[in-house]
């Protein structure tokens, strides 16, 4: 593991991203528009009453946390990894004594440093305007941190492995789109998982997407019993291992297919 090189790469990407903040803030704005629309749709539906046990305030809190997690876990670099492979620019990364995944991790982390303060500010402002009644337990906040990090790792690794399918297909970004659509449906973004119809909810509980967004929100809002928490963290770790194995297989076989076009 070339940690010194990896850290230097992350620093380099930070430096370059801070010089074009405005672009990335617009990107962050794009990430939060969807969840905002769902939030307003659900609080309108709830009115002063309840929708399947969720009140207006609970919807607000749910979606404000989701906006933050969405920004924290969104693996934006994976869209460019596929392009780099297709155009042959991936060669530059392969020639260095540093695993190319560092480039994607570095890009992601650099983006988060630039974007998260912006998203955080928007979430706080929305909280102040909408004034939901909310309180968090310290224990839930502490459990939320590993749930969030595992959620990010799972989302990143799955998307990265899918992006590497560009070694075989020049249109692997279609897989990333499918991945995003499944995430939209089954992660708790379009609606909290508990509000999904029975069949969909059962699928959502099996697929990895809930562990990327919905589960960390449930952890922070204290909505889960100790047994559900244990099952959730186990689910995150199992899916992370599956994503890691998938990545290893795609990586090793993909390199043999790489045609390094152009440069």
């Amino acid at each position: 593991m070339n940690l010194r090189g990896g850290w230097a790469l992350i620093r380099r990407l930070w430096m370059s991203y801070t010089s074009s903040r405005a672009f990335f803030w617009i990107l962050a704005l794009g990430h939060l528009v969807g969840p905002l629309i769902y939030m307003f749709a659900w609080i309108t539906a709830a009115g002063q009453g309840l929708v399947s046990g969720y009140s207006r305030d609970e919807f607000i809190v749910y979606y404000l946390i989701l906006i933050f997690i969405q920004e924290f876990t969104y693996p934006v670099s994976n869209w460019t990894v596929g392009d780099f492979i297709r155009m042959g620019m991936f060669s530059s990364w392969l020639l260095r004594p540093l695993h190319p995944i560092y480039e994607a991790i570095g890009t992601d982390l650099a983006l988060k440093v630039v974007n998260l303060p912006f998203t955080g500010l928007v979430v706080i402002l929305l909280g102040l305007i909408l004034k939901p009644e909310v309180s968090f337990q310290l224990q839930d906040v502490l459990l939320f941190i590993p749930a969030l990090i595992l959620g990010y790792m799972l989302r990143f690794l799955l998307a990265y492995a899918l992006a590497l399918m560009a070694f075989w297909s020049s249109r692997a970004d279609a897989l990333l789109r499918l991945n995003d659509t499944l995430l939209f449906l089954f992660s708790g973004m379009v609606a909290p998982i508990m509000l999904l119809p029975d069949g969909l909810r059962q699928i959502a509980m099996i697929l990895p997407y809930r562990y990327m967004l919905g589960f960390p929100i449930q952890v922070l809002t204290g909505a889960l019993s100790p047994t559900e928490l244990l099952a959730g963290f186990t689910g995150q770790i199992v899916w992370l291992l599956v994503a890691f194995l998938f990545h290893q297989i795609v990586w090793k076989n993909g390199l043999r297919h790489y045609s390094a076009v152009g440069g």
């Binding site: 070339n2 010194r4 230097a8 430096m15 020639l95 004594p97 790489y258 045609s259 390094a260 440069g263």
Partner: protein, 334 residues
Amino acid sequence: MEYQIQVQSLTKFYRVPERDPGLKEALKSLARRRYREVHAVEDVSFSVQSGEMVGFIGPNGAGKTTTLKMLSGLLYPTSGEAWVNGFIPWERRAPFLKTIAMVMGNRNSLTWENTVLDSFQVLGEIYNVPRREFQQTLDDLVDLLELKEHLGKMARNLSLGERMKCEVAAALLHRPRVIFMDEPTLGLDVTMQIRLRSFIAEYNRRNAATIILTSHYMADVVTLCPRVILIQKGKLLFDGELRRLASLMAPFKLVRMDLGEGEGQVVEAALSDFSTDVVVLEHIGQHIVLRVHRDRTSAVTSRLLNQLPLVDITIEDPPIEAVIDQVYREGIDT
């Protein structure tokens, strides 16, 4: 004899999808895709000694870049073996990657939004170059390539030539022992080409680096590489001294003629009388260049002088470009 690069029966075949033109064929290919096997490199073997500079030449699509990509670990071969610095390149082990560099005309190792020096320092860290050694190498490269004024600039603000110089420096910061240069002077103006050539020669002299260079500019090859490896359609055609290639291929002279105005038809008639060992290489307006077998030169020129109203005639050895062009078009018989 110490070989730094050894290549044995290296072969790379690609499978590429293909279809006939038209919408109907495009729709058909959705259901059933047809593939064609491209033999990019076929059974190529050679060795390069430590500190040697070799020109790797061939026409477009000959397999030069594919070979270099296999030797730098970017591509897996279909079959064959290769060792570079004792490593199998496509295993891409970190100790191997630290000893090589690949300089490509279109390579982009500088970050556009960062200063050149920032990019250099990051590369120094990635290659784990000790700080003192990094500074010394950087000073050398800045001196040799005259980079001082560019270090503080954002990469996006550099001109093509400036960027290429910086890309070359970026590739050499870890002092690689083997350097693959793929069209390093591509798109550069004449001054920059000359400067880069003299830099490569000086770098080789100072560091005893082994260099394999591909270029379509024969001046790069003539200036830098006593030895050339010529490849065409994936197969090795020639491996040896450039001078030997020229003498093998040039039992010919070039006859350059300038005619008086309006003599076109006379020329056509005169040239059609010659046998096949006189080849018209160029015929632009009143200027004609012929390739004539060395033994027939005096007979042909005296006949030309008798038959044509010449303003000027010169006889010369063909330039290396013409020799190479002939090899590309007609092959070689060693």
